[in-house]
């Protein structure tokens, strides 16, 4: 078990900056998720930690030691990929034992046997040990892949979208299993994904990456409730946050854009006064669960669409030429084009710079 640090790491492929000046400290025993869209640089970052890529500049430290010049094997990390890289003609037992049979390890057959049994029990595949891996389902194969990483007892686990090929239900189950596993093994785990639900539900902390840059590092709660910019705000959370470019008039306690206008509560005015740019232009962010339908006194609009999610309904409301999503209780009437009024929980409003997208900070 070990901490992992990256200090000013950059990696270019030709003219492409895959990772730009990335600094990050991952604590011992932490479940750390690198989250971002395709091409963000998260897999390259993981491969740099694993020793499969060499950064051009910057240091990589495992347990405080600089490992840039160490081979992948010397780093003692285990990598689990999206594609299960199992030996198809071998049994699960043989696949699990394989990494232990290296001459470098000098393990006795009994020791190997014990470790395989322990790892198999941990990932719940004890009943599959004699089966050939080409006879396994996707979920079972991924369990074996994880088991093969566990059996080595590495200092750090690195996982690259290990759940992406599985169907939704299985992903949901394995998500919880993997999180539980990491807690039981008390290990450091760096997990790469483009799926914000995976990141939110599994990570102790999340690092959001975009275009090679680390945008924000925080707990799931921080990332969701204090997104550093509109990219993070939009990338995390489903249904997605509503973003509205508005003109703020503090003297009249109003925010407006064309025919969409509403009154700002005193507390909102106070918050805005601390951050408001000189021209009064602000990008407002409000999550769908903080928008509600009200009987009167709200912004007038009409139902543009509504999606039943069983536990709740996500309504799309057209108001003043804008479309806003609102999460409303199950069974709420939401007929198409039906007139409604909406209201915002103003203490949940986020304020961003309309051009840069950065979260507005007190002057």
């Amino acid at each position: 078990m070990a901490a992992v640090s990256l200090h000013r790491v950059s990696k270019q492929f030709g003219a492409v900056h895959a990772v730009r000046d990335l600094t990050l400290d991952i604590a011992n025993r932490e479940f750390f998720v690198l989250l971002g869209p395709t091409g963000a640089g998260k897999t390259t970052t993981l491969r740099c930690i694993a020793g499969l890529e060499q950064p051009q500049t910057g240091d990589i430290l495992i347990a405080g030691e600089r490992v840039n010049d160490w081979s992948a094997a010397q780093r003692d990390v285990a990598l689990v990929f999206q594609q299960y890289s199992l030996y198809p003609n071998y049994t699960v037992r043989e696949n699990l034992a394989f990494p232990l049979k290296s001459k470098l390890r000098m393990l006795s057959p009994q020791e190997i046997e014990q470790r395989v049994a322990r790892a198999a029990a941990t990932v719940r595949i004890s009943h599959l040990l004699e089966r050939r891996t080409d006879r396994l389902s996707g979920g079972e194969m991924q369990r074996v892949s994880i088991g093969r990483a566990i059996v080595r007892e590495p200092r750090v686990f690195l996982m690259d979208e290990p759940l992406s090929n599985l169907d939704a239900k299985l992903r949901e189950l394995l998500r919880a299993e993997l999180k539980g596993l990491q807690q039981r093994l008390e290990t450091t785990l760096v997990f790469v994904t483009h799926d914000q639900v995976e990141a939110m539900t599994m990570g102790d902390r999340i690092g959001v990456v975009n275009k090679g840059e680390l945008i924000q590092v925080g707990t799931p709660h921080e990332i969701y409730n204090q997104p550093a910019n509109t990219f993070v705000a939009s990338f995390v959370g489903t249904p997605a946050i509503n973003l509205l470019d508005l003109q703020v008039d503090l003297a009249r306690s109003r925010a407006h854009n064309g025919s969409l206008a509403f009154t700002l509560e005193p507390a909102t005015c106070e918050r805005l006064a601390r951050v408001l740019p000189a021209d009064g232009a602000v990008c407002f962010g409000i999550r769908p669960e903080n928008v509600s339908l009200v009987a009167g006194g709200g912004l007038p609009g009409a139902i543009y669409g509504a999606e039943n999610h069983g536990a709740e309904i996500v309504a799309v409301i057209e108001s003043g030429g804008h479309r806003l999503r609102a999460t409303v209780p199950a069974k709420t009437p939401t007929a198409l084009n039906q007139p409604v009024q909406i209201s915002f929980m103003q203490d949940k409003l986020h304020f961003f710079h309309p051009q840069s997208g950065e979260r507005l900070r007190p002057h």
Binding site: E172, T201, R287, Y304, G305, E307, G310, V314, K331, L336
Partner: protein, 370 residues
């Protein structure tokens, strides 16, 4: 305009029985989603409606016509495939106009029809572009436009937005639904994605192994699943299903999960009556309850059950908390940060009216006749 009826349909591919005794009545104007895992028979059903597959037995009727012996072009249905099937050398306009011109419509009428459809689909600005210059979502809209322009009695869609990215898919769900309503279409839509089905359908037909499991509106499917398959296929997070010993009592059902020292009472007379009426379930019973039908409390109270927090999954808007109750593990939807750390003691309440009992052997819900 016309209802669609599938009556006692059967289909084999060799030894593979892909549709078994299927009955489905799709009313004019309905948006019906056929939902199920791959291989369940949903696409074969759709293709049979379109005339792209024959059926071995049974009937298909559109309005008062029996169509199962008719070729596709005589059935008056339009099929939208998952893959964009546009002519690459034609502009979007000409692609949409294609079926009209093929039918010999006057050019003035063609222009009027294409422009009308383009307006609804919001692709007027794209009409001069060729498919190669269009983004994925726009291409799919053009494909839909080409199907729609013929004003068919039924639109048949096979995972039409499955290949799009998540954001665009969300948008297209809303647009397709609006389109359906604005055009007064009848739509049959195939997907394996339960979110799509719940979000778009007037009625969902859930299929598994060639058998229609349930055919109901989304709320009924979600609140009163007919069997374990439906219960666990629809809804995310997945419905909790745990083994349970049950006994009908005057005030409700006395239930005990494995590992529990004492039984607890589900105060629901209807469920008790159904339990009494049900033949003894030889394989035993399973209790099913959705994560949002369970409440957590920080302190004990009458009717609450002691449990321990195992895992917390934050989703931002809310948390999913995995608790251990007896030997069972249950997932509970709670307010964000209601539970702070694993290992905490909590007290669990099940909403009896939203708790289901299933016969484990047949999978059937005791509530299915509610």
């Amino acid at each position: 305009m016309a209802d669609i009826q599938i009556i006692d349909a059967e289909k084999h591919f060799g030894a593979n029985h892909v549709i078994r005794k299927l009955n489905l009545h799709i009313r004019h104007g309905e948006f019906v989603v056929l939902l199920g895992p791959s291989g369940c028979g949903k696409t074969t059903t759709l293709r049979a409606l379109a005339g792209l597959e024959s059926i071995d037995a049974g009937e298909i009727r559109i309005g008062d016509r029996r169509v199962d012996q008719l070729p596709p072009q005589e059935r008056d249905t339009a099929f939208v495939f998952q893959l964009y099937s546009l002519y690459p050398h034609l502009t979007a306009f000409d692609n949409i106009a294609f079926p009209l011109r093929a039918g010999g419509m006057s050019e003035a009428k063609v222009r009027e029809q294409v422009n009308g459809v383009a307006k609804v689909l919001r692709i007027e600005h794209l009409l001069k572009k060729r498919p190669s210059a269009l983004a994925g979502g726009d291409m799919q809209r053009v494909t839909i436009g080409r199907a729609l322009v013929r004003r068919p009695s039924a639109m048949l869609m096979d995972e039409p937005i499955g290949a799009l990215d998540a954001k665009l898919r969300e948008e297209m769900r809303t647009e397709l639904r609006r389109l359906h309503v604005e055009n007064d279409s009848t739509t049959v839509y195939v997907t394996h994605d339960q979110v799509e089905a719940m979000a778009m359908a007037d009625k969902i037909g859930i299929m598994n192994d060639g058998v229609l499991q349930q055919y109901d509106d989304p709320d009924t499917v979600y609140d009163h699943p007919a069997n374990l398959f439906v219960a666990q296929f629809v809804g995310s997070p997945i419905m909790n299903v745990v083994d349970c010993a049950c006994e009908a009592a005057p005030e409700g059902v006395r239930a005990r999960l494995s590992g529990m020292a004492e039984p607890f009472m589900l105060h629901d007379a209807a469920l008790a009556a159904q339990l009494r009426a049900a033949p003894a379930a030889e394989g035993g019973l399973a209790l099913g309850v959705r994560p949002e039908a369970i409440t957590l409390q920080p302190a004990p109270a009458p009717g609450l059950l002691a449990a321990r927090v195992n895992l917390i999954e934050p989703l931002g808007a809310y948390d999913i908390v995995d608790v251990t109750l007896g030997e069972a593990s249950l997932r509970v939807r709670t307010a964000s940060q209601f539970v702070r750390r694993p290992g905490e003691d909590v007290w669990v309440g099940l909403d009896a009216a939203r708790t289901h009992l299933f016969d484990k052997r047949s999978g059937l819900s005791l509530r299915r006749n509610d």
